[in-house]
């Protein structure tokens, strides 16, 4: 029996799990939850995810939500298959965790309001908070400088290899690169190099194709 992912293939958090499945060569089935009609807030989905968000997974009797916990579980369960996303030693795993936590606490908190206002609200016909976007971009510049410095001496965020620390950034970055933030990334040599490197990975290309985004 194949794991079922409840979510929308174009949304960032489900993409985080899908990318993990693709990197780990895990078979899956997507059960579409339509965000444009707020299906995620309806009682049937709230039973899977009490906060009314996507994704959630069902693997036989086992159920989970929170994309980063799901990704970690499958990366651990299938440690010997596909890409090693977790790091090799206890210390390396801690560095992977550190930069994955940076994504949560420094990057996502800024990426989310930008994506919400520039990508999601227009789809739902809602007004964009332009002032908030501009203020958030200023804060994001400071954070991207730290990443730029990190990536100057490391090929990937946690060292020499692609790990969960890089993967966890990719879905939101993918959306941001369709906005003016593209300019901010391209202006930073190492961030640009890192982004081109990780988006050249076959798993990312498959994900983009599934999500219906045209590839150059």
């Amino acid at each position: 029996m194949v794991v079922k992912l409840y979510g929308q293939v174009t949304a960032a958090c489900p993409q985080r799990v899908l990318l993990c499945f693709l990197e780990k060569e895990i078979e899956f089935e997507i059960v579409h939850v339509d965000l444009d009609t707020l299906e995620q807030k309806k009682p049937e989905h709230l039973l899977r995810q009490p906060f009314g968000q996507v994704p959630a997974i069902e693997d036989g009797d086992f159920k989970l939500f929170e994309s980063r916990a799901i990704a970690r579980y499958y990366a651990t369960k299938y440690a010997d298959q596909g890409t090693n996303l977790l790091g090799k030693s206890l210390e390396h795993r801690a560095i992977v965790d550190q930069w994955a936590d940076v994504e949560t606490h420094y990057f996502n908190v800024l990426a989310f309001p930008i994506v919400l206002n520039l990508v999601i609200k227009p789809r739902l016909g809602e007004e964009c908070d332009v002032v908030l976007v501009e203020e958030t971009k200023v804060k994001l510049e400071v954070v991207l400088d730290i990443y730029e410095n990190r990536l100057a001496s490391n090929r990937f965020l946690a060292g020499d290899e692609f790990t969960m620390a890089d993967l966890t950034h990719m879905p939101a970055m993918g959306h941001l690169m369709g906005t003016d933030v593209n300019r901010m990334v391209k202006a930073r040599v190492n961030m640009n190099r890192w982004w081109e490197d990780i988006t050249a990975r076959p798993a990312w290309k498959k994900l983009m194709k599934m999500a219906g985004f045209g590839l150059a």
Binding site: F51, R72, L90, A94, D97, Q98, V102, I146
Partner: protein, 219 residues
């Protein structure tokens, strides 16, 4: 060589790490960082954490920041002693711990830390708390606690019937929150209240709470 924690016990994020160290019965040395004199923004500190925040952990050659990455490391390294904080012997239980730890990071922390920031940090900077921000985040926090109330009606702790990192991560900010005038958000929810009274009376926390000395404004 003993692990070093750089920070000050009054910081909730530092307390999170200290609490984990006590639960795991692990020795450590607390290296003071003067937050009021902004020593955490000096180049010597930024070389350890480029985001200029406490805590930082040094364990031999390893330097780590992000308190929850640090607690995960300590809990894993010392998984065979002290409290079982990760349920590491069962992969499914272990990920449920991670799930509710993610809930703390993504749902609980943004709301509660915004309230604590307004009610503790802002007055220390000589400014007036923004009532609208407090109001907005109390509302968000209330909705999160509704989910917790239901979950804690089914299990004694957030990830199951044992105390784990999923509970531990909540403790320091909740301790400060309970000193504000908004403790009702916890006390009016019987399951959350019972959980809070249990987790804040654990011996490990009684060693950490004396360091959580900053006093919030009461409105």
């Amino acid at each position: 060589m003993v692990m070093k924690v750089y920070g000050d016990g009054m910081s909730a994020c530092v307390a999170r790490v200290l609490l984990c160290l006590h639960e795991k019965e692990t020795e450590f040395e607390l290296v003071p960082v003067d937050l009021f004199a902004c020593h955490h923004k000096l180049p010597s500190f930024l070389s350890m954490n480029p985001f200029g925040q406490v805590p930082v952990l040094q364990d031999g050659d390893l330097t780590l920041f992000e308190s929850r990455a640090i607690t995960a490391y300590i809990a894993e390294k010392h998984k065979d002693k002290g409290t079982d904080l990760t349920r590491h012997l069962d992969a499914k239980e272990a990920v449920i711990v991670k799930l509710w730890s993610e809930v703390e990071s993504h749902h609980f922390n943004p709301a509660i830390s915004a309230v604590i920031h307004q009610l503790i940090v802002v007055p220390l900077q000589g400014k007036t708390p923004d009532a609208a921000i407090v109001e907005e985040n109390l509302e968000k926090l209330g909705k999160v606690l509704d989910v917790y109330e239901e979950k804690l009606g089914k299990t004694k702790y957030l990830a199951g019937d044992s105390y784990t990192l999923a509970d531990l991560h909540h403790v320091p900010y909740t301790y400060y929150f309970m000193k504000t005038g908004h403790a009702g958000l916890v006390n009016d929810r019987p399951n959350v209240k019972a959980w809070w009274e249990d987790v804040c009376s654990r011996p490990a926390f009684l060693k950490v709470s004396p360091g959580l000395t900053v006093a919030p404004a009461t409105n």
